[in-house]
């Protein structure tokens, strides 16, 4: 069975937190994100990775494909993603309520974005990837990444502003 060498394993291990956030941006729920992360790691271990591949970029691409498999296997596109789960500790009722409102608004705003915009924005604005790295992961030209992110930001800013005004 193909496997990873030590340096590939270490590189992937160091990328797991970022991959988890990427999974969350794809799935919209922590439980689904954990399952997708597991499926991604299992798939990378099962299929192996070329020696000259960049482990992180390779893993993000495998993750995207694993999510496509998941969409094919159960019609998750038909359902509205769960909201983020509550943290276990809650400092005060008012703070929790405020945070819940904000999380709910941001989650809803993200859900309204086209998938390709959400993925590009997550890779760059959250994970700190360059446009060139995001383009490689999502297999599109750099110019496409730039325009997707700009459109995503504009729509998000508008949706969040409207939600705050309500």
């Amino acid at each position: 069975m193909p496997s990873l060498n030590s340096s590939q394993r270490e590189a992937l291990l160091a990328e797991l937190s970022g991959l988890k956030r990427f999974c969350f941006s794809l799935t919209g729920s922590q439980a689904d994100a954990d399952d997708l992360l597991q499926a991604t790691v299992e798939k990378v271990l099962e299929k192996g990775m070329p020696e000259d591949a960049h482990p992180a970029k390779w893993a993000y691409r495998v993750c995207k494909n694993a999510w496509i498999d998941e969409l094919r296997s159960r019609e998750v596109r038909q359902r509205y993603p769960e909201q983020a789960e509550e943290p276990e500790s809650s400092p005060s009722a008012e703070q929790v309520a405020g945070r819940e409102r904000q999380v709910s608004a941001v989650g809803a705003a993200l859900e309204q974005l086209a998938d390709e915009q959400r993925l590009a924005l997550t890779l760059v604005a959250v994970e700190g990837k360059t446009y060139a790295e995001a383009a490689e992961i999502l297999e599109v030209p750099v110019g496409t990444i730039m325009s997707r992110i700009a459109r995503a930001r504009k729509q998000l800013a508008t949706t969040i502003s409207l939600a705050e005004d309500d």
């Binding site: 069975m1 193909p2 394993r9 992937l12 291990l13 797991l16 937190s17 988890k20 956030r21 941006s25 794809l26 922590q30 439980a31 994100a33 954990d34 399952d35 992360l37 597991q38 499926a39 790691v41 299992e42 271990l45 995207k64 494909n65 694993a66 999510w67 496509i68 498999d69 998941e70 094919r72 296997s73 159960r74 019609e75 596109r77 038909q78 983020a84 943290p87 904000q102 999380v103 941001v106 993200l110 086209a114 998938d115 993925l119 924005l121 997550t122 760059v124 604005a125 959250v126 999502l138 297999e139 599109v140 730039m146 700009a150 930001r153 504009k154 998000l156 800013a157 969040i160 502003s161």
Partner: protein
């Protein structure tokens, strides 16, 4: 706000603007209040998305996932942890790869047009569904599974087709002459509904998965996006 200015601000936030453009933009930001206000608004959106992502990752990386990447001497003893929902993302892929591995029909160039005007017509108008089957006029049953943009600009759809005791899974793409099947694999009619997690060898190939991974330009369409395309005749 012009599209050009929006892209300038966005690149500025991402540190992707060339140095010369940065100086010019910062000069404008000092002089144009609406532009500066828009930058603040976009920055706030970024902050909100980062906070949301952090909350999503709050549970951290599950230890059983991290353990999968432990050094080989340790990971050889690690038993993969089952998915909470019992059907991991790879479940279908593995089950489908088993189908391919048991030597059922694989017809990469099967033409929908050869015997499939009904199939092509149904693919044009039938939404994807998790469990609804459409009975075609010739008695076969069809279930579109999902739709996606192909990397060559065509729209493509994965589907399942049943005829008596036989069942196939395929992908058709819409060209100038309508829907044409690009790949099709036979599968047992009851396998897909079993929900069982079936083991498969590492060398098994899921022709449908591979085709979609190679040719999908992005994540498959949402139900709403697909409905819009059906209404607009996939244009």
């Amino acid at each position: 706000m012009t599209t050009q200015d929006l892209e300038l601000l966005s690149q500025y936030l991402d540190g992707e603007l060339p140095a010369g453009d940065v100086a010019r933009l910062e000069q404008r930001l000092a002089q144009e209040a609406p532009l500066a206000a828009e930058l603040r608004r976009l920055k706030q959106a970024d902050d909100a998305v980062r906070a949301f992502a952090e909350q999503g990752a709050a549970g951290g990386v599950p230890s059983h996932v991290a353990e999968l990447l432990a050094p080989v001497s340790q990971s050889a003893r690690v038993i993969p942890f089952p998915s909470r929902r019992g059907r991991a993302a790879v479940g279908f892929a593995i089950a489908a790869s088993l189908v391919a591995s048991v030597g059922l029909v694989l017809a990469p160039q099967w033409q929908a047009g050869d015997d499939g005007p009904l199939l092509a017509q149904a693919l044009e108008t039938t939404p994807s569904s998790a469990d609804e089957w459409l009975t075609l006029a010739d008695g076969r049953s069809l279930r579109p599974v999902l739709s996606f943009a192909g990397d060559d600009g065509r729209w493509c759809r994965e589907y399942q087709l049943q005829d008596g005791g036989q069942q196939w899974r395929g992908v058709a793409c819409r060209g100038d002459s309508g829907w044409q099947t690009e790949v099709q694999v036979g599968e047992p009619a009851d396998l897909d509904n079993s929900g069982d997690y079936l083991p498969a060898g590492a060398d098994d190939v899921d022709a449908i998965s591979d085709f979609i991974h190679r040719h999908a330009a992005g994540i498959p369409l949402s139900a709403a996006e697909e409905a819009r395309l059906i209404d607009q005749h996939w244009r």
